[in-house]
Homo-oligomer: 276 residues x 2
């Protein structure tokens, strides 16, 4: 008679996670023409079915996914060694598949514990003179380029890479289209990971959009993280945070129940399911 | 000619994550006899290939995976709606598959935002009189039972459940076989999730092992989290933490580089690859 493990079809795992392709390229797609331009440029630079799979989070016609959903929705589907997240308005007009692989292997040699890599990020806050690391062609481009990976505190959303064997997932109490890479970097930090800007060049056709949802999203990010980053400053590519000491009072004597109440009062977006 | 999206085999995702079975049952397996006992008991209580898949993290003969590896190694392989983690020395001698499903659906109705569920955890620290929630038959059992889900700050490692559509992953700068559920609860907390003890009963044949690795693991946990949980107390089933204020000094003026240095000096396990 078959063993109980055989009868239940037990899978014994004894080695590291494998991968079918090098890259899973995940894109929040709002506009087909922009996405097609991105795909054409990727294919022209060597990203194809021999080394990559492509997943579109389909926001054509309606927003079905926000930035905070992207990684958690994709990770269980992804089969690549590296998961590359992009906006639909980037274009691979400079570096290609071989360069990206080489930059990520260099980064792994430099820091085997890295968790996130991107093309723009904040190193640290300095009043009036933010310290950023940039390696991107975008409307703000002043030609800043990096020669080697730079350890950063935050990354821009237009393009970032994650390891499928060492993933990081976004917060469940934030939502929308701002600060999701900054949030990912915070979770990565608490998890003990590290984020880098790497010298991989692409074109981002937008300089970042400061719309009406930006200020409330920034305030929710501040209220969430000031309780974990007491006394700390944070520089992102688009803004900065000085978390100060008020989180000390808010966190004092905190319980799981009082924290839930704080989340409902301070982080929920009125009318948005799942955030209250 | 096919569109560029067709040529690259783009998958458009437009709905929530699906699942092939209800449960992915993940076990750190050090001992085949204990695991077979667990599997036999699971099958007798209705967990079988019609509703569950079974994944063994194979530590027979050698420790290939620690507690912190378990979820990150398994998540990309799992196909269940819920991921159930167990020790190999638990036995399903009371509740079964229908009860677990019912308890998780009750929890989801109570709190759609839950992230973790278990059978033992800490609600809060009270000096000399820790407030715990227990619903487990183990060598310490004094018959405490819960009638409904209880919101907790920490869970015991013997058994816990995670949602595959809302996962939480362990820290990369801790390791070993202690505090990995407490770590998962901390990451879940920062991500905005919530952990509960639910009234699902099984037997755990161990009361928890306080071995020589316990005290150093506890100290590493304390050094890691006192910088994010300044002034906070934490109750686990086996110990408590009073994080105090020293993290305020340690975090003050911190940069990504100084944090990496702190990790290397305070959290790394000498001689263990990947922790330095």
């Amino acid at each position: 008679m078959a063993s109980i493990a055989d009868r239940l079809g037990v899978r014994y795992l004894s080695g590291p996670l494998g991968h079918d392709v090098l890259f899973t390229i995940v894109t929040l797609v709002a506009d087909q023409d922009r996405y097609d331009r991105m795909l054409e440029s990727a294919a022209a630079k060597g990203f194809d079915t021999s080394n990559s799979e492509f997943i579109a989070l389909d926001n054509r016609g309606a927003n079905r996914f926000d930035g905070f959903d992207a990684m958690r929705r994709t990770l269980p589907e992804a089969k690549g060694r590296w998961i590359v997240f992009t906006h639909d308005d980037v274009e691979f007009d400079a570096d290609g598949v071989d360069a990206l692989r080489a930059r990520l292997e260099e980064l792994t040699a430099l820091d085997p514990g890295w968790t996130l890599a991107g093309n723009a990020g904040g190193i640290r806050y300095r009043r009036g003179n933010p310290l950023l690391a940039l390696h991107i062609a975008d409307p703000h481009d002043k030609g800043e380029r990096q020669a080697a990976p730079v350890l950063v505190e935050s990354l821009d959303e237009n393009f970032f890479v994650m390891r499928r064997d060492r993933p990081v997932l976004n917060s469940y109490d934030l939502s929308g289209f701002h600060f999701y890479a900054g949030d990912l970097c915070r979770i990565s930090e608490v998890m003990g990971g590290r984020a880098y800007v790497i010298p991989f060049l692409l074109r981002h056709h937008s300089g970042g959009k400061i719309d009406a949802s930006f200020a409330p999203a920034r305030e929710r990010f501040r209220r969430k993280y000031r309780r974990y980053f007491i006394g700390r400053d944070l520089q992102t590519t688009v803004t900065e945070f000085r978390f100060g000491l008020s989180g000390l009072r808010e966190g004092w004597g905190e319980t799981a129940a009082s924290r839930h109440s704080y989340q409902q009062q301070n982080l929920a977006v009125p009318g948005l399911a799942g955030t209250e």
